[in-house]
Symmetry: C2
DNA sequence: TTTAGCACTCATCTTCATTGAGTGCTAACA
DNA sequence: TGTTAGCACTCAATGAAGATGAGTGCTAAA
């Protein structure tokens, strides 16, 4: 592995490069971080670091730039987590919790804040319906043949769908169906809705059962209601790596397309906690000079969504990781309280 | 006013410039649009058009570029509306109507399509709650002290809000309150909810009445639930006028901020039908090299929202105007059907 | 009134030299 | 053996100078 001095040099290069966005030379390092050795020694170390793939040189007479491998080593080993003071923590928490009543705004506010604090693009996947527990189901008769189905899910999320039926129902009938449905569904999650439950509903409630299963339950399990939001797209245009409009464009195009954005985040949502994908570790070709820092968020103990930051590989990892972590856990806390 | 030939020249300059984004010279016009006169004559005409402010010359040895005044004359007088074939119309209508069941998706789909077809940014203001007619109000008891308020508004829009009360209510009580509320509200709009209705509700329903008014009705009339969406932000980065990243950034920053975007669209939503703001006609300084083409959309006869396109002043006005018009009216039609 | 001709302007492109940050290598030193 | 000073070398970036050409305005003739 890398010896102590190599680590110091690597770290110095990364931190300098993150700050300036310019290839960093041996002299600069000798001057700024006094390692007690001369530029020449640092040059030797840098040559070694380049040979082992941690650094890379844009051209022979330029300074060094960290490679993806270099960043990876940095986030895994070198980086010291940024810590927030009680006060900062409080500010962030309060900022989000102002919206605690409505889940969607809560989530939007969390992304907005994350984008603001990191000066990068922030993305979030809203809670996956199929992970949530039913709390209440209710059918409301609007007129002759239209019925409003209301589903209340565990963290206070309300979904509704208007359905049309051939047959008409009386309020009393609907009430009865509502009660029966409630008994059947209360406390289980979408994911647990298997074919058995579906056929029971169809059997027990006739036409309305069929419509319910088709439109409401199947529909919602299929698209899972996965909403993706992003915020702060303008921020990355400040970064020097996106002065080239074309590069910025391909990134924004991904953000405009929900599916691609979702597939981008799907990897990260598998593991718990903060997940970092640096440059080429990223499956999407267009994203290979970007890094992605994400974290899952929870309702109680269940992972329900993902929130994260997209920025250039040259990123203040320590800060961003801590912010993502902090905001994800604030969000989890608030959503769990909504419960 | 402008004589026939000047109009032809102006039109030629605009259409050429829209296509190429390069200042257009007298020769080019003589070659492409055969007006039957020599470049020298066209030069004279162009000199006149410049003097009267319709054209403008970036520097003395460049061709001419249309001024805002020039574009204004073009959209008001010269432009021939683009017409769509039955087939094109059908495609567009079907494309949107695939989502007719859910208002929000309907609106999002309309913007997505508009952005795609114009290769510009498309924005939409979702229906203003205060313009919509109440259809149904229902209170559902979730547990001890939490009550779900469901409001169904005319074009099938459902709003809900969770409220907490000190006092606890029985299902029967809630049913009674629901019925009474329904009678009071059915058929009127948010806007018509005056202080009288508020105090009646507070008087009649005690604690729950107060909470209802505060949280639900006042809350909703205040923020009006005005949602703004945008789509196709990546598109403008293709336009040559936005190769300068800074210019693109200020525009994207506006789009990231809901309030600014709303204020941008507020002018347009006053008049019915298609509204065009060219360059400096636009109040926002950052938008003064952009044009905005918007149209209102309706539920029945009531204007409920605005949809439009943001692009560089150099814009295919004829096409964009027709598309905005077409999509706004398709949207109106579909929303009215949802009713 | 229109047009051909011509001198003039000026952004853009190309070329070429200059600059300077940064390197690798070598030899001397601790 | 590891460290450092010195030096030649590389190469992107900057800028000046010249060439190019698209386009104009003006004048005089048709």
């Amino acid at each position: 592995m890398l010896d102590e001095r190599k680590r110091l040099v690597l770290r110095a290069v990364i931190e300098d490069y993150v700050e300036t966005a310019e290839p960093v030379g041996s002299r600069t390092i000798a001057r700024k971080h006094n390692l007690g050795v001369s530029p020449a020694t640092i040059r030797n170390e840098m040559a070694d670091l380049e040979e082992t793939g941690y650094l890379h040189q844009p051209h022979v007479s330029a300074g060094r730039v960290p490679s993806d491998k270099g960043y990876r080593f940095y986030v895994d080993v070198l980086m010291e987590p940024h810590t927030f003071s009680e006060r900062e923590y409080g500010v962030i928490y309060r900022e989000i919790s102002g919206y605690y009543r409505e889940m969607e705004r809560l989530i939007r506010e969390a992304t907005r804040l994350l984008a603001l604090l990191t000066q990068s693009i922030s993305v979030v996947v809203a809670p996956r319906m199929d992970r949530l527990v039913f709390k209440h189901v209710q059918l409301v008769l609007l007129d002759e043949n239209s019925i409003l189905v209301i589903l209340v899910l565990q963290p206070g999320i309300v979904k509704n769908k208007l359905i049309k039926t051939e047959q008409s129902y009386s309020p009393a009938q609907l009430h009865e169906i509502s009660t029966a449905l409630n008994q059947k569904l209360k406390g289980i999650t979408y994911r647990e809705l298997g074919p058995t439950v579906f056929s029971e509903i169809i059997r027990d409630f006739g036409e309305i059962g069929t419509v319910l299963v088709e439109l409401v339950f199947r529909g919602l399990t299929e698209d899972k209601g996965e909403q993706v939001y992003s915020s702060g797209t303008a921020n990355i245009l400040q970064q020097p790596e996106f002065q080239d409009v074309d590069r910025a464009r391909v990134l924004l195009e991904i953000l405009d397309e929900k599916e691609r954005l979702l597939s981008l985040l799907s990897d990260a949502s598998k593991s718990r906690g903060v997940h970092i994908a640096i440059g080429h570790e990223n499956p999407h070709e267009e994203m290979q000079d970007c890094s992605l820092v994400t974290s899952t968020y929870h309702v109680g103990r269940d992972v329900v969504g993902t929130i994260g930051v997209i920025g250039p590989t040259r990123m203040e990892y320590a800060r961003v990781v801590s912010l993502v972590d902090l905001i994800a856990s604030s969000l989890s806390e608030l959503l769990t309280e909504l419960k």
